[in-house]
C-alpha cells in the first residue's frame, strides 16, 4: 500500500466529521453571540475546530514521513493550496470592488453628479469627497447625525510606509529561507524564517498602533461612514490574514527547529505557507496604493 506508484487513499477517518462538528458549533455559536447571547458555543466550537485541524495536519505530516505520499498525491496538495489562495484573492476582490464602486460611482451620484445625481435631492448640501469626512447624514443633520465622518485619517507616509517596507522585506526574507532550504542549509533557513516571522509580528504591532491612533485620536472607526467602513474592513481582513500567515510560518519554524522536519526536496508545508505569505504581501501593496495613498 505504501508503494510509491499508487495513490494513497486513506481508508476512513474521524477527522472530517469532528471538524464539521467544530465548524458547525463555531458558526452557530458566532451567530448566537453577535445576536447578543453567550459566546460559549462559539468558543467551544473554535477550540474543537482548532484541535481537529491540528490533529489533521499532524496526520498528513506523519503520512508523508511514512512515505505514503506519492509524487502525484503531493501535487494534489499543491493544486489544493493554489486554488485556495485564488479563492482568497476573490474574497479580497469583493471588498476592493466595493471600494472602487463607492468611490467612482456611488459617492459622486450622491453628490449630485451625472444621470443618477437626483439622489442628491435626498441629501441636500452633501458634497462627494474622498476621503469622506462629512457623511450625507452629517451634511443634512449636522450634529444630530447618527453616522458622522472621521476627524482625520491615517497619514500614509508614516506607519503605513513603515509597514510596507516591513512586509516587502519579509517577502524577500522568506524567499531567502526557501533558497537556503533547497541548499540544505538548515541553519540559514531557520534564521531567515525567523526574520520573516519577526517582520510579520512587527507589522502587526504597528497595525495595532495605527488602529489605536485611529480610534483614540482621529475618530476614524468602523462607524464613521463609508471611509471608515472600507478602511477597516480591508485592512482588518488583511491583518487577520497576516496573523494567520504568521502563525503558519511560526508552525513551520517550530517544525524545523524542534522536530527537524523538511527535506531539501520535500517541504511543501513550508512552501504553502510561504505562498500564502507572498499573497498577503501582494494584497498589502494593493491596500497601500488604493486605501492609503490614493485614499488620502
Amino acid at each position: 500500500m505504501a508503494s510509491e506508484s499508487s495513490y494513497y487513499v486513506p481508508e476512513q477517518s474521524r477527522l472530517p466529521i469532528f471538524a464539521t462538528v467544530g465548524l458547525g458549533l463555531t458558526a452557530y455559536g458566532a451567530a448566537n453571540w453577535v445576536n447578543g447571547n453567550s459566546s460559549y458555543l462559539f468558543m467551544l466550537g473554535s477550540i474543537v475546530l482548532a484541535g481537529v485541524l491540528w490533529a489533521w495536519f499532524g496526520q498528513v505530516i506523519k503520512e508523508n514521513m511514512a512515505g505514503l505520499n506519492s509524487d502525484q498525491l503531493k501535487k494534489s496538495y499543491v493544486w489544493g493550496m493554489g486554488w485556495f489562495i485564488f479563492s482568497e484573492v476573490m474574497f479580497f476582490a469583493a471588498f476592493f470592488g466595493a471600494l472602487f464602486y463607492i468611490r467612482t460611482f456611488a459617492l459622486p451620484w450622491l453628490g449630485g453628479e451625472g444621470d443618477k445625481g437626483s439622489t442628491n435631492m435626498l441629501w441636500q448640501g452633501f458634497e462627494a469627497t474622498w476621503p469622506l469626512m462629512t457623511t450625507p447624514d452629517a451634511a443634512v443633520n449636522g450634529d444630530a447625525a447618527k453616522i458622522a465622518g472621521p476627524n482625520a485619517i491615517i497619514d500614509p507616509w508614516h506607519l503605513p510606509l513603515i509597514n510596507t517596507i516591513l512586509l516587502l522585506a519579509s517577502s524577500v526574507t522568506v524567499h531567502f529561507a526557501h533558497v537556503f532550504l533547497k541548499k540544505d542549509n538548515r541553519k540559514a533557513f531557520n534564521w531567515w524564517l525567523f526574520a520573516t516571522i519577526a517582520l510579520g509580528v512587527a507589522f502587526l504591532f504597528f497595525q495595532v498602533e495605527e488602529y489605536l491612533e485611529a480610534y483614540q485620536e482621529l475618530g476614524l472607526t468602523l462607524e464613521s461612514g463609508i471611509y471608515g467602513t472600507t478602511f477597516f474592513m480591508l485592512t482588518g481582513f488583511h491583518g487577520a490574514h497576516v496573523t494567520l500567515g504568521t502563525i503558519m510560518l511560526l508552525v513551520m519554524w517550530c517544525r524545523s527547529v524542534f522536530a527537524g522536519h523538511f527535506k531539501k526536496d520535500d517541504h511543501f508545508g513550508f512552501e504553502a505557507a510561504s505562498w500564502y505569505w507572498h499573497f498577503v504581501d501582494v494584497v498589502w501593496v494593493g491596500l497601500f496604493i488604493f486605501v492609503y495613498v490614493l485614499g488620502s
Binding site: 500500500m1 499508487s6 495513490y7 487513499v9 486513506p10 481508508e11 476512513q12 477517518s13 474521524r14 477527522l15 472530517p16 466529521i17 471538524a19 464539521t20 462538528v21 465548524l23 458547525g24 458558526a27 452557530y28 451567530a31 445576536n35 502525484q72 501535487k75 494534489s76 493544486w79 489544493g80 486554488w83 485556495f84 485564488f86 479563492s87 482568497e88 476573490m90 474574497f91 476582490a93 469583493a94 470592488g97 466595493a98 464602486y101 463607492i102 456611488a106 459617492l107 450622491l110 444621470d115 443618477k116 435626498l122 441629501w123 457623511t135 450625507p136 447624514d137 447618527k146 453616522i147 465622518g149 468602523l222 462607524e223 461612514g225 463609508i226 471608515g228 467602513t229 477597516f232 474592513m233
Partner: protein, 516 residues
C-alpha cells in the same frame, strides 16, 4: 485498499470513498428537493385563488425565500457535486477523489448548514423573508434577527462548496489515467472543471457580501447605507457578481450530463466535441461580465445598460452552439427513447425556451416591463426545472444501474417523465402570460384577471410534486432489486465508467487504466 465498506453508520460518518460521499450528496439533495418542494406547494396553494386564504403574508415571504435558498444551495448544487463525486473519478480512471478526507468534510458541512438555515423558521421573528437574493436594506435594516443565522449558514455552505470545488479541480487536473488528455475527457468532466473554477471564483464573493451585511447589521458599518456614504445598490452589484456565475454553476454540469446521454441513445458520437469545450469556456468567461442584467431597472448610466445588454445577448451564441450540437447529434441517429433520453430531449427543448425568454429579458428597455414580474419567474424556472433538475434526473436514471447493479423500472420511469413534463409546463408556461400582463412576483395576492392562469399553474405544481414520488419509489425499488444490469448497461455507451462491473465495486481503478 482492497476492503469494502465498514458496517454500520460509521461507514457514512468516517468514509473517504467517493462513491459513499456521492451517494450521501445525492440523498441529501433529494431530501432538500422535497423540502423545498413542499415550500413551493405552500406558495402555489396560497396563489391558487386571489385573496389571502392559507398563510399570512409574512409567512408567504419566508416560504419564497426559503424555497429559493433551499433549491439553489440545497438541491441543485449538492446534486451536481454528488454526481461529480460518483462519476468524475470513474470517468477519468482515478482511484478516488484527490483529497478524500476533505471530501467527507465538504459533504458533512451541508446537513449542519441547512439545519441551521431551516431552524430559523422556528426562531423569534421568523425565517429570512427578504427573497433568495436578499437585497439590502430588506436583509439588513429591516431583517428579522434570524438573518444572522442565515449569514453564518451561507458562510459554511460556501466553505463546503469551495472545498468541494478545489477537490474536483485537483482530481481532474492531477488524477487522470495515462492517455486521458484534456481533450479526451468526457464533457461532464470538462463542464465540471469549469464549474469548479466558477465556484472557487464566486463563492468567496458571496462570503464577502454576507460579511458586509453582518457588519452593517451588527457593527455599525455603512456599506449599504446612504446616510454613511454607502449604497444599497452596491449590495446588488456584489450579489449579482456572484449570482450570475452561480446560475451557470447550476447549468454547466447539466450540459455535461446531456452531452453524455444524447450520444448514447442516438448511437452516434457527440457532434462537435471541441466546440462544446470552447462554448462552455466562453459561457463561463461571459458569465463574469453580465451581472447587471439583473439590475436594469435599478438604474445605471446608459453605457452600463448597453454594455450589460449586449454582453448578455452574446451568451446566446455559445449556448446556441451547444443546442445545435445536441440536435445535430440526434440527427439521423438510431434513436431510442429510454427514460434518460426522454429527460434529455425535454431538456434540449425546454431549456431553449428558457434561453429565449432570457434573451427577451436581456433587452434592457423590454426588461423595464418584465422585471420583477412572473415572466422572470417563468424564465428561470424553465432553465432550472427542465434544465438543471431534468438533467440531474436524467443522470440518475442513466447511471443508477451502474450504482446499484439493477435496472430501474422503465415503465415507471416513463410515467415519471410524462407526469413531470406535463406538470412543469402546466405550472410554468402560464406564468409567462401573467408576467407579461404585469403580475408582480413575491406577492401573496393578485388582481382578479390573473386568477385563471394561477389556478392552472397551481394544479400543474401539485402534479409535478406528486410525480416526484414516482421517482423516489422507482429509485428505492431499483436499490432493492430488479433486473440485473450488465457492465455496459447501455448498448455501446462510451466512457470508462461502463468498463467496470455493475454495481461499480467499492474501489475502482486502483491501478489506472490505459486510455488510447
Amino acid at each position: 485498499m482492497a476492503h469494502g465498506p465498514q458496517p454500520g453508520f460509521k461507514r457514512w460518518l468516517y468514509t473517504t470513498n467517493h462513491k459513499d460521499i456521492g451517494t450521501m450528496y445525492l440523498w441529501f439533495s433529494f431530501a432538500m428537493f422535497f423540502l423545498g418542494g413542499i415550500m413551493a406547494l405552500v406558495i402555489r396553494a396560497e396563489l391558487f385563488q386571489p385573496g389571502l386564504q392559507i398563510v399570512e403574508p409574512e409567512f408567504f415571504n419566508q416560504m419564497t425565500t426559503m424555497h429559493g435558498l433551499i433549491m439553489v444551495f440545497g438541491a441543485v448544487m449538492p446534486a451536481f457535486v454528488g454526481l461529480a463525486n460518483w462519476m468524475v473519478p470513474m470517468m477519468i480512471g482515478a482511484p478516488d477523489m484527490a483529497l478524500p478526507r476533505m471530501n467527507n468534510w465538504s459533504f458533512w458541512i451541508l446537513p449542519f448548514a441547512f439545519a441551521m438555515l431551516v431552524s430559523t423558521l422556528f426562531m423569534e421573528g421568523g425565517a429570512p423573508n427578504f427573497g433568495w437574493t436578499f437585497y439590502a436594506p430588506l436583509s439588513t435594516e429591516y431583517a428579522p434577527p434570524s438573518v444572522t443565522f442565515f449569514i453564518f449558514a451561507v458562510h459554511i455552505m460556501g466553505a463546503s462548496s469551495i472545498m468541494g470545488a478545489i477537490n474536483i479541480v485537483a482530481t481532474i487536473l492531477n488524477m487522470r489515467a495515462p492517455g486521458m488528455t484534456l481533450m479526451k475527457m468526457p464533457l461532464f468532466v470538462w463542464t465540471w472543471l469549469i464549474t469548479a473554477y466558477l465556484l472557487i471564483a464566486v463563492m468567496p464573493v458571496l462570503a464577502g457580501v454576507v460579511t458586509m451585511m453582518l457588519m452593517d447589521i451588527h457593527f455599525g458599518t455603512s456599506f449599504f447605507s446612504a446616510a454613511g456614504g454607502g449604497d444599497p445598490v452596491l449590495f446588488q452589484h456584489v450579489f449579482w457578481f456572484f449570482g450570475h456565475p452561480e446560475v451557470y454553476i447550476m447549468i454547466l454540469p447539466a450540459f455535461g450530463i446531456v452531452s453524455a446521454i444524447i450520444p448514447t441513445f442516438a448511437r452516434k458520437p457527440l457532434f462537435g466535441y471541441s466546440s462544446m469545450v470552447y462554448a462552455t469556456s466562453s459561457i463561463a468567461f461571459l458569465s463574469f461580465i453580465v451581472w447587471a442584467h439583473h439590475m436594469f431597472t435599478v438604474g445605471m448610466p446608459i453605457a452600463g445598460e448597453l454594455f450589460f445588454m449586449y454582453a448578455t445577448m452574446l451568451i446566446a451564441v455559445p449556448t446556441g452552439v451547444k443546442v445545435f450540437n445536441w440536435v445535430t447529434t440526434m440527427f439521423r441517429g438510431s434513436m431510442t427513447f429510454e427514460t434518460p433520453m426522454l429527460f434529455s430531449i425535454a431538456f434540449v427543448i425546454l431549456f431553449t425556451i428558457g434561453g429565449f425568454s432570457g434573451l427577451m429579458l436581456a433587452i434592457a428597455p423590454a426588461d423595464f416591463q418584465y422585471h420583477d414580474t412572473y415572466f422572470v419567474v417563468a424564465h428561470f424556472h424553465y432553465v432550472l426545472v427542465p434544465g438543471a433538475i431534468f438533467s440531474i434526473t436524467a443522470g440518475v436514471y442513466y447511471w443508477l444501474p451502474k450504482w446499484t447493479g439493477n435496472m430501474y423500472n422503465e415503465t415507471m420511469g416513463k410515467v415519471h417523465f410524462w407526469l413531470s413534463f406535463i406538470g412543469l409546463n402546466v405550472t410554468f408556461f402560464p406564468m409567462h402570460f401573467v408576467g407579461l400582463a404585469g403580475m408582480p412576483r413575491r406577492i401573496p395576492d393578485y388582481a382578479l384577471q390573473f386568477a385563471d392562469f394561477n389556478l392552472i399553474a397551481s394544479c400543474g405544481a401539485f402534479l409535478f410534486g406528486a410525480s416526484q414520488l414516482v421517482f423516489l419509489f422507482n429509485i428505492l425499488r431499483t436499490i432493492n432489486g430488479g433486473k440485473k444490469a450488465t457492465a455496459e448497461v447501455w448498448e455501446d455507451a462510451d466512457g470508462l465508467e461502463w468498463t467496470v462491473p455493475s454495481p461499480a465495486p467499492y474501489h475502482t481503478f486502483a491501478t489506472p487504466p490505459v486510455v488510447k
